[in-house]
C-alpha cells in the first residue's frame, strides 16, 4: 500500500533519515517506534507529501507522492490518506459536526444529504452525538481525538496515519484511544500507520513494528518478534533503561 524507498532527509547539518526503506502492507497496522527526535514524525510528513526528501521516494498505491510535480497531483494521491494528528488538529472556528464534515465538503461532489448521512453515521458510531454542536475548546482531549478520528474516516481512506495518538494522555484516555483505533479498524478495515513511543501499549494495535534509530530502520517484525529481539538497542528502548547503547541527547 505504502512503499518508502531509500528516503533521506536532513535539516541543515542534522541527518534525520538516511536511506530508509519500508513497506506498509495493506489491511495491517504498522507501528513506527523510536526515541523522541529520531525522525518518526518527519517520516509521516514525507508519507503525507508535505515534506520532500533529499533522496528517495514514497509511493502510495503505486504512485509517487514525492515525485508529484504539482500540489494538485499530490492532493489526488493524498485522497488515499486520512490523518489523526497528535493534538487532533481540529479547526477552532468549526463545531464538532463541521470539523467532521469538512473534508467531504471540501472534496466536493457530495450532496448535502450525503454529507449529513456520513457525518451522522460517524457521530453515532463514535458516540459524539451530544457534542456535535460543541466547539473543540469545549471538549476534552479524548473527545477531540475521537472527532479527529471521525474526520479522518469520513472520506473512507485506504490508509490512516496516526501521529503519536497517545502522547500526553493519561492511561485511561490512552487506552480509550487504542480501543477506538481497534474498533474503527474492525469496522472500516483501513491500513494503519502509527507513530509512537508508548511501549509496549501500542503493540495491541500493531501487526508490524518498525524501529527507527540513528536515522535508519534498525529492527522490524511482529510485536512478538520485536519483544524477543536480541538487539540491545531494541531491548533498552523497550524496557526504558537509561544505561545501554542508546545515549540520551
Amino acid at each position: 500500500m505504502i512503499s518508502v524507498r531509500n528516503v533521506s532527509k536532513r535539516f541543515g547539518e542534522q541527518v534525520v533519515l538516511q536511506d530508509v526503506s519500508l513497506e506498509i502492507e495493506p489491511g495491517l497496522t504498522t507501528t513506527i517506534v523510536g526515541p523522541s527526535g529520531v525522525g518518526k514524525s518527519v517520516l509521516l510528513k514525507l508519507i503525507m507529501g508535505i515534506m520532500t526528501p533529499e533522496k528517495g521516494e514514497v509511493l502510495i498505491d503505486g504512485e509517487s507522492i514525492t515525485r508529484a510535480r504539482t500540489e494538485r497531483e499530490k492532493n489526488r494521491i493524498r485522497k488515499h490518506l486520512g490523518v489523526l494528528f497528535q493534538s487532533a488538529a481540529l479547526f477552532d472556528s468549526l463545531s464538532v459536526y463541521d470539523n467532521i464534515a469538512f473534508p467531504l465538503i471540501e472534496r466536493g461532489g457530495y450532496t448535502r444529504e450525503e454529507v449529513n448521512e456520513r457525518a451522522n453515521k460517524l457521530i453515532t458510531a463514535l458516540s459524539l452525538r451530544k457534542h456535535a454542536q460543541h466547539f473543540p475548546e469545549e471538549i476534552s482531549i479524548g473527545l477531540r481525538k475521537r472527532v479527529g478520528m471521525a474526520r479522518a474516516l469520513i472520506t473512507e481512506p485506504d490508509v490512516i496515519l496516526f501521529d503519536e495518538p497517545n502522547t500526553g494522555l493519561d492511561p485511561l484516555v490512552g487506552q480509550e484511544v487504542y480501543d477506538l483505533i481497534k474498533h474503527c479498524q474492525d469496522d472500516w478495515n483501513f491500513t494503519g500507520v502509527v507513530i509512537s513511543h508508548e511501549l509496549p501499549e501500542v503493540f495491541q494495535v500493531s501487526d508490524k513494528v518498525v524501529m527507527l534509530l540513528h536515522a535508519q530502520v534498525i529492527a522490524e517484525g511482529t510485536p512478538q518478534e520485536f519483544m524477543d529481539s536480541a538487539n540491545p538497542e531494541v531491548q533498552q528502548f523497550l524496557h526504558g533503561r537509561t544505561d545501554g547503547p542508546i545515549k540520551i541527547q
Binding site: G82, Q86, A89, P103, R107
Partner: protein, 267 residues
Amino acid sequence: MSVSQMSVVRSTEQLGKAVLDHTESWGRSWLFLFRTILAFFVPPFRLRLLLIQLYQIGVNSTVVVALIGLFTGAVLAVQAEYTLSKFGATAFTGSAVALSLIRELGPVLTALMVIGRAGSAITAEIGIMRITEQIDALRSMAVDPMKYLMVPRFIAGLIAMPLLTAIFICIGIGGGYVVGVGLLDLSSGTFLSQMTHAVGLVDVYSGIIKSIVFGFIFGWVSCYKGYTCGFGAVGVNKATTQSVVTSSVAVLVVDYFLTSILTRVLM
C-alpha cells in the same frame, strides 16, 4: 591568524549569514505572494470565507477607524486654523483638513490602524494554526491552505482598506467641520466652499490608489508572517510583532514613493 584577523573573519561570516538569511526570507515572501495570487484563480471560489474575512477585517475595524478619523479631523482643524491664522488665511482651513485627510492621513492612518487591529490578529491566527498542525491537517485533507486561508484574507484586505479609508475621511472631515465651525468660529459656508473648491478628483484617486496598495501590503505581510511562524508561543509572539512592524514601516516607506509618483502622474 591573529585575534583581530579572526574577529574580522567572524564578523564577515555573521554579516554574510545575515544577508543570506534576509535574501532567502525576501525570496520566500515573493514566492508566497505568487502562490497566493495563483491560488486566487483556481476554483473553487469561496464567497462565504471572503464574507467572513470582510466582516472580521472590515466591519470589526469600523468603530476604531471612525473614532480615530473623528479626532484626526478635529485636531487637523485646530492645527490648520492656528497655522493659517499666521498668514490671515483661516478661510482655507476646510481645504487643508480635507486635502490632508484625503491625500495622506486617511489612507496612512487607516492602514496603520487596520494593521494594528486586524493584521496582528491574522498573523496570530494563522501562526497558531501552523503550530497546532491545523495547516498540516488542511494539506493532508487535500485542501490548499493558500486557497483556503490566504486568498480570502488577502482579497478582504484589498476590499476593506479603501472602504475603511473612505469612512475615516468622511468622519474626519465631519470632525474637522464640527471643531472648525462649532468651536473656532469659522464660517460654515467658507469651510465647505473652500473645501469643495480645493479638492479634485485626482486627490480622491490618489487616496484610493494608496489605500488599495496599503491593503495589498497588509494582506501580504500579515498572512506571510503567520504562515512562516516559528515554534510555540514565542514563535507566534515574534511573528505578530514582526508582522505589525514590517507592514507599518512598509506602508510609510511605500507612501513616500507613491506620493512622489502620484503627484507627478496625476497632477
